[in-house]
């Protein structure tokens, strides 16, 4: 592992993004290190790399701009790559630097039939909601369908996305999760948080506007 990657990894372990943003000014290799950390064996670090890329995009959009095409490509890589965390990274980049992604929500919906990418794509839609309210409202019907998934993580991610979009049309789908006691882990505020799906759905319901 390179010294730079080790250093960036260390900052992510302590949840401290400021030194990463300082480091990138002197060494642009930090961007590559963060992309690499999107595939780290440690799940929490993968998510924190997502957060760091979002903050980097906000602070240095010029450095994040070339990543957008690369991350989109990795979602459809025919040569053996799997962008496990590319959708969340795009979501976070779009949240902090909306100018870098145009018409980005509809393409993410394409990945809702990819089992390996589904939960991450839903999470990304949720993160994009404040920056792209109209676009994310358009995809509420597709996202709501994911509340019927067999995978609790997908149901919880769909609930998170629907809550973030805040469209009243999601009420029926979210209400349908009211008795869902399956545990599901989502990334929230820099931590991996496990709650029952019904709790994730309850929080989402409280964020809905009147239909």
């Amino acid at each position: 592992m390179s010294t730079l990657r080790r250093s960036v990894r260390g900052h992510l372990e302590s949840g401290d993004y400021a030194p990463v943003l300082s480091l990138v000014v002197a060494d642009r290799g930090v961007v590559r290190a963060l992309v690499s950390l999107l595939c780290d064996p440690d799940e929490l670090l993968r998510w924190r790399a997502v957060s760091a890329l979002g903050q980097l995009a906000g602070a240095h959009p010029d450095l994040a701009q070339p990543l957008v095409a690369r991350l989109y490509w990795s979602l459809n890589d025919e040569s053996g790559g799997i962008g496990w965390m590319s959708a969340p990274a795009l979501g976070e980049i779009g949240r902090f630097a909306p100018q870098l992604l145009s018409k980005c929500v509809r393409p993410l919906v394409r990945y809702l039939d990819e089992p390996f990418l589904l939960a991450g794509s839903l999470w990304a839609i949720g993160r994009l909601a404040p920056a792209y309210p109209a676009e994310t409202r358009e995809v509420v019907p597709e996202v709501a369908l994911c509340c019927a998934s067999a995978d609790p993580a997908v149901r919880a991610s769909a609930a998170f996305a629907l809550g973030a979009v805040g469209d009243g049309r999601a009420r029926i789908a979210l209400t349908g999760l009211a008795d869902d006691q399956s545990p599901a882990r989502l990334y929230e505020e820099g931590q991996l948080v496990t709650k029952q799906v019904r709790e994730w759905a309850g929080e989402a319901l409280s964020r809905l506007r009147a239909a």
Partner: protein, 397 residues
């Protein structure tokens, strides 16, 4: 095996079993006696031959948690018709340097694959990996766990450093100018993150050849070709030259007359070589290995930018460093690799190989960006267009 009744009729594939040559159809049929996936493969392949088109499609992403590469998702476009191969993913296993295996290791590899996959192999893929053909998404994690527990790891794929590969060099070949396998192993272990976690604009292949014969075709197949060479003079054993004469060799016709740079002479008694003109074609050394040997001051020539055609046409790699010492811990080449990755990693476009990047920015700019001095040997011929002016002219004004 012979009385196994195949599910699908394969008249066209059956033709490929005829004749004295080994037949992949025969091998797939053998596997099909035990594995339904191989049976399905026969059916789909026959259909492809009939319709003259492939029915494999890239239908989705699959992988191992903690890795961003190493598994290639493959799906059949005729999954309903051939359900056995509806999902038929490829697993790349990082091969040992020089492709040396014990029979026990091969058995372990195959036993695990029999348990989790189709039993079909591609040994080896052009990347160098031990390639396992055909498994399903559900079996991937267990398959990986078994390989990992047996001491194997995934190879590269996607926009990462692909699994480095090398010729078997000093283990079997007297022409090897450095220990290719030691370098290959060292680079593989040093760059585990780059191998498993794609972070580059596109793929980056490293191939290592022990001498200019380049048996692994590194110059045509890799972004970074590390090719053995020597700095000093070709060693000549005049007595052995005489032995070749006695054995019937016509040295003038077969050796010195064939020299592409005409740097050799043979007067009937003595072989002379003007080493400054030697372009390392290896013809004389290959044909008179007892009489001629490469020099003692050995290392490697570093070439960058080779690739097969995908986005742009095929390119041979260009010499960037004419000579670099190649001894453990290989610090110089690692420093060089890091410079390449920094420049290309930050400035390369998405899906742009480093050779295409060099063309886009110009070889001069590329050399400057990686801190290497241009070498007159890189110039194929003098400029033809008198309207090109160099920066120096402007500076003089």
């Amino acid at each position: 095996m012979a009385d196994h009744v195949h599910k699908y009729k394969t008249p066209m594939l059956d033709e490929l079993e005829k004749g004295p040559w080994p037949s992949f159809v025969k091998e797939i049929k053998r596997a099909a006696a035990k594995r339904p996936m191989a049976e399905g493969l026969l059916g789909q392949l026959e259909r492809s031959y009939k319709d003259k088109q492939t029915y494999w499609k890239h239908g989705g992403l699959v992988g191992i948690q903690g890795y961003g590469a190493g598994i290639i998702g493959r799906y059949s476009a005729l999954g309903t018709e051939f359900p056995e191969v509806a999902a038929f993913h490829t697993v790349r296993i990082n091969q040992p340097a020089g492709w040396f295996y014990t029979s026990k290791a091969l058995r372990t590899l195959c036993d695990i694959w029999d348990k989790h996959g189709s039993g079909l192999l591609n040994v080896h893929g052009s990347t160098g990996d031990f390639v396992l053909l055909g498994t399903t998404s559900e079996k991937l994690e267990d398959c990986f766990t078994d390989y990992s527990n047996a001491g194997w790891d995934l190879g590269g794929s996607s926009s990462d450093m692909r699994t480095p590969s090398c010729c078997n060099g000093m283990a079997r070949c007297e022409f090897a100018c450095f220990d290719t396998m030691a370098l290959c192993h060292d680079l593989t272990m040093t760059y585990q993150d780059e191998l498993h976690r794609p972070a580059f604009p596109y793929k980056f292949k490293i191939k290592i050849a022990g001498c200019p014969n380049d048996c692994v075709a590194s110059i045509a197949r890799s972004d970074l070709s590390i090719m053995g060479t020597w700095k000093d003079e070709i060693r000549i054993d005049q007595a052995e030259c005489q032995a070749y004469i006695k054995a019937g060799m016509d040295i003038v016709a077969e050796i010195t007359g064939m020299c592409p740079t005409a740097c050799m002479t043979w007067d009937g008694k003595t072989m002379k070589i003007n080493n400054h003109e030697c372009n390392r074609c290896m013809h004389c050394i290959n044909f008179m290995p007892k009489a001629l040997r490469h020099g003692k001051e050995t290392g490697a020539t570093i070439l960058v930018g080779g690739k097969a055609p995908i986005l742009e046409g095929a390119q041979l790699a260009s010499v960037v460093v004419p000579f670099m010492p190649m001894k453990a811990p290989f610090s110089e080449i690692k420093e060089f690799i890091q410079k390449l990755w920094d420049v290309w990693g930050e400035n390369g476009n998405n899906r742009e190989r480093i050779g295409e990047f060099m063309l886009r920015v110009g070889v001069g700019n590329f050399m400057e960006s990686i801190g290497e001095a241009p070498n007159p040997n890189m110039v194929m011929h003098p400029r033809e267009n008198p309207y090109i002016f160099y920066e120096e002219y402007f500076e003089e004004e």
